[in-house]
Structure formats: structure tokens, C-alpha cells
Symmetry: C2
Subunit: 340 residues, 2 copies
């Protein structure tokens, strides 16, 4: 089967690609081609695999070239992120809404000319949720909680969920959407996102650098590890339409934890020197933004697919350390891990 991953050079896209290549099959079918479509060129060893192709460029503009061959499975992960959409309203609509619509139209044309009815996984986000004075965010967010986006990014995700469901209802694709949770611990460099500290305040101390926790320690957040997120994507993508039972988007599982518990896990796993590298200088702006995010989820539909949240933050932290041993540079942390 031919698989297309949009956003295939990104953090989750490239890890998803590596996982699919290692398995060699998807939904019981051998993978003959894996196309990574992205505005960036894929990095690392992926391109060395004979099954892998790459299409670099704007997704909407790339679609005529991409659709010259049939696709059986599409993981649609490409997206302009929240801050980009707030900075450039038109760019956000183009990258998120227009590109998704062009992709769906390409797959509809594929089916209508007698090609395969592609299965499509759409990567939605918890950013579809929000609350206001009239319709406050409930304490626990469920699969049936009404989306009330408070950002353009969340607006686009909610709109595309609806579009994917309607193309599916019409039989043009076999689509399904899942709302991804905030992913922690992300590797790499600090970024300007409001959620950046949820990875940075762990990653930086492990690398021997100072970091800051900008929110009160009792601030509650909902997180998922990269591994848990990838397992969620694959489970939803491989489930049959009957198993899903609804065209509505599924909330992936999230661990509900607090900033304080995350830092306790850092001390427990990497030692008190690592913990000591994290200052606690409050940032009212970040505290307000993060405080508006859902922090507890009931993920009944994901549970029915066999998915569960990460058990605790120490487990998430150990996953990061195992996956990125070179990123642990603090001598006392390496010693505590038994690496010296």
C-alpha cells in the first residue's frame, strides 16, 4: 500500500514514518511506498529507506504532483501552528483550511475516477476546546464536549474535523480525526510557544542548562508522551469505521498532572541538582493562557480502542531520556542514571 504523511518531516511525522517502516505493514497490508510531504526536507536516516519518497513544498501547491499516484492511507499531520496563525491570519487559513480541503478534494477525485477510497487520519488538537462566560469549559472534557476554539488554529482544526466527517459520510474517503494532546517531553531547542516550558523545564536542566517554570506549581495540565501520542495515532488510524462508531473526533488520552509533579519527577529521575536549575519566576501571560487549557479528560472512546494515558510523569521523563541519551549532559544526572 501507498502511504502519504503530510508534515512528514516534522517531529511526530518523522517518528510515525520510522515506526511504520519498522513494522513494514499497516492494517495488515505491506507498505510499498511512504511519501513524506512537508515544507521542510526530511532529516535523518529515513530517506535512505528504499520505500521512502519526499515531496518538499507548500502542501496545497504540491497536491497536483502528489495525486498523480493512488494513496491508500493518508496521515494528515501538516499544520501551521498556533502562533503562526495568530501572527498571519491569511497564512493560517491557507495552510490549515485550504490545504486540507485540497487534499480532501484530491482524494475525492481519486475515488471518483475508480481509484481506492483512501483512509485518512486527521490530526486535530485539544485547541478546539475553550470556554467563555456563557459556555464555560467543563472541569472534565469529554469526547462530546462542544468545541469552542479560542484561537485561529483551534478554529481551523474544528472546521477540518467537520469537513473530514462529511467527506467520510459521502463515501469519498474513510476518514477519522483524533485530537492530539500537548506533547511532552519534546526534544530540540526552546521555542516561543506558551506551552514551551512543559518540555523545556525538563529538557534544559538535563542538558545542564537553567530553565524556568513560569506558572504556579499547582497549575494542572494534560500531557501525552511522544510514544503515547504515536500509539494513539496508529490505533485510531487502524480502527475500522465500525469500531469508531462515530465520525466525530476522538480525544486521545492525556495524563493530568501539575507543574509541581513534573518537577518532582525531574528530581526523582535526574537528581536535586537538575531540579535546582529550574527557577520559578511567574509569567502572568503564560499562566493565563495555560490556565485556559483543559487539564482533565475523559477519553472513553480512546479507552475502547485500548489506549491509556501515560501512567505518571516520571515514566514520560524516562522515555525522553531513553530516546535521547545524548541530550542528558548534566554530570550529576548522568551519574544518577548510572551512565558514568
Amino acid at each position: 500500500m501507498n502511504i502519504l504523511i503530510t508534515g512528514g518531516a516534522g517531529f511526530l511525522g518523522s517518528q510515525l514514518a520510522a515506526r511504520l517502516l519498522k513494522r513494514g505493514e499497516f492494517a495488515g497490508q505491506p507498505i510499498s511506498q511512504l511519501m513524506l510531504a512537508d515544507i521542510a526536507t526530511p532529516q535523518g536516516p529515513l530517506l535512505a529507506d528504499a520505500r521512502v519518497r519526499s515531496q518538499v513544498g507548500d502542501l496545497a501547491a504540491s497536491l497536483p504532483a502528489l495525486m498523480t499516484q493512488p494513496w491508500h492511507m493518508v496521515f494528515h499531520l501538516a499544520s501551521a501552528v498556533s502562533a503562526e496563525c495568530e501572527r498571519d491570519f491569511g497564512l493560517g487559513l491557507h495552510a490549515n483550511l485550504d490545504a486540507t480541503r485540497a487534499l480532501l478534494e484530491g482524494l475525492r477525485a481519486q475515488a471518483e475516477r475508480g481509484g481506492p477510497v483512501a483512509r485518512l487520519f486527521f490530526s486535530s488538537s485539544v485547541a478546539v476546546f475553550g470556554g467563555d462566560a456563557v459556555l464555560p469549559l467543563p472541569e472534565v472534557v469529554r469526547d462530546g464536549t462542544p468545541p469552542l476554539p479560542q484561537s485561529s488554529y483551534g478554529t481551523h482544526k474544528a472546521m477540518c474535523e467537520l469537513l473530514v466527517a462529511d467527506y467520510t459520510r459521502k463515501g469519498f474517503i474513510d476518514g477519522r480525526s483524533a485530537r492530539l494532546m500537548t506533547v511532552s517531553v519534546r526534544p530540540g531547542r526552546p521555542n516561543g510557544a506558551a506551552s514551551g516550558f512543559l518540555s523545556g523545564m525538563l529538557r534544559e536542566p538535563l542538558a545542564g542548562q537553567v530553565s524556568n517554570c513560569p506558572v504556579p506549581l499547582n497549575t494542572r495540565v494534560a500531557l501525552a508522551s511522544p510514544d503515547s501520542t504515536l500509539r494513539g495515532i496508529l490505533a485510531v488510524a487502524e480502527a475500522s469505521a465500525a469500531q469508531l462508531g462515530s465520525r466525530a473526533a476522538i480525544n486521545l488520552p492525556a495524563l493530568s498532572t501539575t507543574a509541581g509533579e513534573m518537577l518532582e519527577a525531574l528530581a526523582q529521575v535526574a537528581g536535586s541538582e537538575a531540579r535546582g536549575l529550574v527557577s520559578q519566576t511567574p509569567d502572568a501571560g503564560i499562566t493565563a493562557i495555560v490556565g485556559g487549557w483543559p487539564a482533565r479528560f475523559d477519553h472513553a472512546r480512546a479507552s475502547a480502542l485500548g489506549l491509556a494515558p501515560d501512567p505518571d510523569f516520571a515514566t514520560i521523563l524516562r522515555q525522553y531520556i531513553d530516546a535521547h541519551p545524548d541530550a542528558v549532559q548534566l554530570p550529576s544526572a548522568r551519574q544518577r542514571l548510572g551512565w558514568t
Copy 2:
């Protein structure tokens, strides 16, 4: 102020125009121009009013011409209806999603070049609601019930609600969306819509013609009269953003009644001969479609704006008769009304 009504030649659009012209003002400002944009030419006496202009053609294609002047208030009622969207998927997306987006972009450009930030009323629909095995439609639909459209028309309406809210959040427009209920009694000729009998089984007997009730008499439906619908549109359009309190769409009030109660009202108002002209030949298809529609609403937000449902169906029927006396042709009905 300059007011634009899209769908201004339609049933609700032309009645809204007549009401605005009679008032002469909107939100305290005198109406200097009222533009009726529609694919059809406005009928009746509207065009004789010196304040009225007309733009006939596809809305998306008309927008460059329309946007050469500033708009202070837009009633966006134009829409491809449910059956059209199911028949021609691309046409539905063009007429509902693309045209709405083009209108919103036109208003954003108006604001960004220093023109007025237009107020916009978006006419959404109860068709955004639906249920399935996993997320069943609740017995009572509330303002916060999650949309789960079961048609392309409902999908487009839900998507445009989200878009209107995001343009509003960004300050490009002052937008608000209200979900209109099934309107009864509609004047005119029978149409092929599944909801057609909800007007036809009253209108046809009054005209002295036979009609049919295709659903069991205990089938429950939610209805609003044209007058109640127009009052709802104007109240939501004139409310301040603070009064609305949320950018989420408002459900307009609906009378919850049954097919049997509607026919009892017909007998009560127009006599037993009129009632006798309505056969009861079941149609399984229509029964299934209408049975999937929400039939009871909690309209807390509309109530807070002073809106209430029609009190009973006999009142709705009398409203139709008063507005369209020439449509009552059955002699026994005219006699009962004291018109002979």
C-alpha cells in the same frame, strides 16, 4: 447606515427587508441603503423603495462589486439548501463555505483599510445538530449541545459558525450566528424537501387542495413561525457583543409540537373539512429523516434576549392566514373565519 442582505430575494430575506424599511432604522441608526444580493431578482414592491438596491448573481462572484462601498450591517442569509448540497457536493461547498469566506474576507479588507468594522448576522441552522450510536442526540438540545451534522448543509453551517466567531475574535467583524428553526407555515408552492409537509399539510387544505401527512401523528417537531424567526434574527443582530456574552451560535426559540397537534389546530382554526383534506399515508423515508431532527430545545440564551417560542400551533396558523388571506380558498374555511 448601509445594510446588505445576502439571500435578500428569498422568503426570509425579503420579509426582513420589508421589516427594516418599515422601521427605517437599525440599532438606532437610520437606514440609508438596503442592498438585496441574491441569485434571484427581488419580487414585489421592495425595489420601488428609493433606499433599496439589488445585486443579482452568484454571491462569491458578486463580492468585488458589492465591496466597492462600505457596509455597516450584513445579514448573511444566502445558502444552498440541504437537498442541493446532497445532490451537488461541490456546489454546496462553493455556495455555502466559499461564498461565506469571500464575504468575511471582503469585510476584513474593509476594516483593514480603515472602513467600518461591520456587524454580521450569520444565519445558521438546527441542521448542525445530529446524533449517532456513540454521541446520541440529547432529548433536549441546548445552546451548548455539540454540533454533529448529518448533512453537507449542516456541516457548512457549523464550519461557518466557527469562521464567523474567529473573524469576530480577531476584531475584523462584529459577528454573531443564530441557528434558525424549521419555519412553518411557509407560503408558496409544495417543494421536495423532507420538511415540506410541515407547511404543505396546512397550506394546501386552506387553498382547497388535498395534502398528506407522511409521519405518525405523534411525531414531535420543533417549529417557528416566520414572525418569530424574523424577531429572532433582529434581536440577535441588534444585541451588543456584551449582551451575547459568547461568540458561540445561539439557538433561536422553537415551539415543540406534534403532527397531530398541528392538524388539530387546522381543524380548530379552519374547520373539519380542511382537516379532512389531509390524508395520512405514511412515508418511511420522511419519517426516518424527520425523526432524526431535534424536537425539543432549551433556548436559554435566546430567552435572555427577550425571545420566546410561538405559544401554540393555532397561533402560528392564524399568523399565516392573516398574512396571506388570498391563500385561503376553501369556502368552509373562509366561512369559519367570518370572511363570507
